[in-house]
């Protein structure tokens, strides 16, 4: 009797916790929608999404989010272009080539990379990387989209490497043996059989890597220079959506258009992250068939 009562209590508690987290997510989402959509009572949606000027406190204010979306895209794309090849190569090295201490060393190194707080990476970017980029390209400032991409690539790597590694480990040994027994070299085996076989998992890894990068705030704010202009080159300062929200939320007057506009940016970010996660899920799911 007591036993049964206890079982039911535990079950109910677990169910309640699950429900609670779902409810919290829904509430956050509703709040975001309510505050964000309030902007469009005074500012047309096209001015927001299509406008190329973000002057939230000038008179009249301009809430064109395009430079911020493009800023996020440029920095993210750059980070992915830098991180993906290196990450896939590292995963291949860990799972197929390295043995013994080299494998352990690399795995530990990448785990440590994941453990570095983003503000520390941002600080390193400012103190070390930015002066270096300024010097190398002879720029007026080293705080550029490229600087942000490099720092973000370092942050995305651990995610991409570890998920790619899992995807490679899930490829049946028979494929490797078949390729080698046909006279393939190790590299041919990896590039022509292993990578295609692991492709869904690798795509998911890249999606999650992008998700990690696009939501990052602190480091980007520190190293990208924060100029809200449409980027024409990766060697220009840019400003991302996340950095904008973080930097301006403190000074925006509650209930003002500026305040609502920051929430509207939040909706855009949320939508992008959601789509990325859904895509990653789709790829991972597809892999299981």
């Amino acid at each position: 009797m007591w036993q049964r009562w206890r079982e039911r209590f535990i079950e109910k508690t677990i169910a309640a916790s699950g429900m609670f987290s779902i409810i919290v997510v829904i509430l956050i989402f509703l709040f975001l929608l309510k505050e964000g959509l309030a902007l469009f009572r005074t500012v047309p949606m096209t001015d927001f999404l299509g406008g190329d000027r973000w002057y939230p406190i000038s008179e009249p204010p301009r809430f064109g989010v395009l430079p911020l979306i493009l800023g996020s895209c440029v920095v993210t794309l750059g980070a992915i272009v830098l991180a993906v090849p290196v990450s896939i190569a590292s995963a291949l090295f860990i799972s197929e080539i390295a043995a013994g201490w080299a494998k352990d060393a690399l795995k530990t190194g990448i785990e440590l990379l994941a453990a570095i707080p983003s503000v520390v990476l941002g600080f390193l970017g400012m103190a070390v990387l930015a002066p270096w980029i300024k010097y190398l390209f002879q720029l007026p400032t080293g705080l550029t989209a490229l600087t942000g991409s490099i720092i973000l690539a370092l942050m995305a790597m651990p995610t991409i490497v570890s998920i790619t590694e899992d995807a490679l480990a899930a490829v049946p040994r028979g494929y490797r043996e078949a390729a080698l027994a046909l006279g393939a070299t190790r590299w041919q085996m990896m590039s022509r059989v292993l990578l295609p076989a692991a492709r869904p998992g690798i795509l998911a890894a890249v999606m999650l890597g992008i998700g990690r990068v696009i939501g990052e705030t602190m480091a980007v704010m520190m190293v990208t220079g924060n100029a809200a202009v449409i980027p024409r080159s990766v060697l220009q300062p840019v400003r991302t959506m996340t950095a904008t929200i973080a930097a301006e939320m403190g000074e925006a007057v509650r209930g003002s258009d500026h305040y609502f506009a920051l929430f509207a940016i939040g909706i855009v970010l949320f939508a992008i992250s959601f789509l990325l996660n859904a895509a990653a899920d789709l790829f991972l799911h597809q892999e299981r068939h």
Binding site: P172, G174, Y175, E177, A178, A179, L180, A181, L182, G183, A184, T185, Q188, R192, V193, P196, A197
Partner: protein, 252 residues
């Protein structure tokens, strides 16, 4: 007897402390089917994997002795593995087509060995599929994933994938063990046709299969080659009492 295709001399193989093959000496005749039989764990697969040196993927495996292919020692470190494995191909126990299209599976070997390019590749694909009787059923579905084929068709495809690189020897490690009896019969029929052009070494723990498809048979027991002779002779008048015990089903 003509020169053997493969000559095995005092072959020993160990996995770390475990001695898996003990002083094997035998000669495999060209364009014949040679079967290796014996109970599970006696070293049949290990022996087969010496011929294409796949055991070298296993870190602790050590091989001594000589294996001559057309009179040439292939156990030397200088032997290029890529060419060796092109000449001596292998079919595995579980069909293992690549998770690529049927066409790409067949083109794989042709591409890595640069045997042909451009328009010649589809021709090789067609020939190889024809050789295993898959051309007619599959010719309109070459772009489909090879994983969607039945197990029997997958195994045939794996054989076709080998034929595409024009090997000389086919090693088959229990090629029918994942197949049902009807599919098995079809693959055995295929093996029978292939021996006109290829030297075949087949491992099986199915004695009826050895009796049906092979010309010569070797009986392995605990890493030792107990007896090696014409199949007819092994199955009708074995010299060693252990062979007799095995083929009459008294152990194994």
């Amino acid at each position: 007897m003509s020169q053997p295709k493969l000559q095995v001399e005092h072959l020993n193989l160990s996995y770390g402390p475990f001695h898996a093959l003990n002083d094997i000496t035998m000669a495999i005749a060209p364009r014949q089917v040679t079967a290796m039989i014996g109970p599970s764990g006696c070293g049949k697969s290990s022996l087969l994997r010496c011929f294409n040196r796949m055991n070298e993927l296993i870190e602790q495996a050590r091989m001594t002795g000589r294996i001559l292919l057309d009179g040439e020692d292939i156990t030397q470190t200088a032997t290029p593995l890529v060419t060796l494995r092109k000449r001596i191909g292998m079919v595995f126990q579980r069909p293992n087509p690549f998770p690529l299209s049927i066409f790409e599976n067949l083109a794989f070997g042709v591409r890595i060995h640069e045997l042909a390019a451009g328009r010649a590749i589809p021709q090789i694909v067609e020939h190889s599929l024809q050789a295993v009787g898959l051309w007619d059923p599959l010719k309109d579905r070459l772009r489909r994933s090879a994983l969607r084929l039945s197990l029997e068709q997958q195994q045939r495809l794996c054989i076709a994938r080998l034929l595409a690189v024009q090997p000389e020897v086919l090693l088959m490690d229990e090629p029918c063990s994942a197949l049902d009896p009807i599919a098995t019969a079809k693959v055995e029929e295929l093996i029978h046709q292939l021996k006109r052009e290829y030297t075949i070494v087949i491992v099986t723990h199915n004695m009826q299969q050895a009796a049906r498809v092979s010309d010569a048979t070797g009986f392995l027991l605990l890493g030792e080659l107990i007896e090696f002779d014409a199949t007819e002779r092994i199955f009708t008048a074995p010299r060693d009492p252990r062979t007799e015990a095995y083929i009459t089903g008294r152990f194994g």
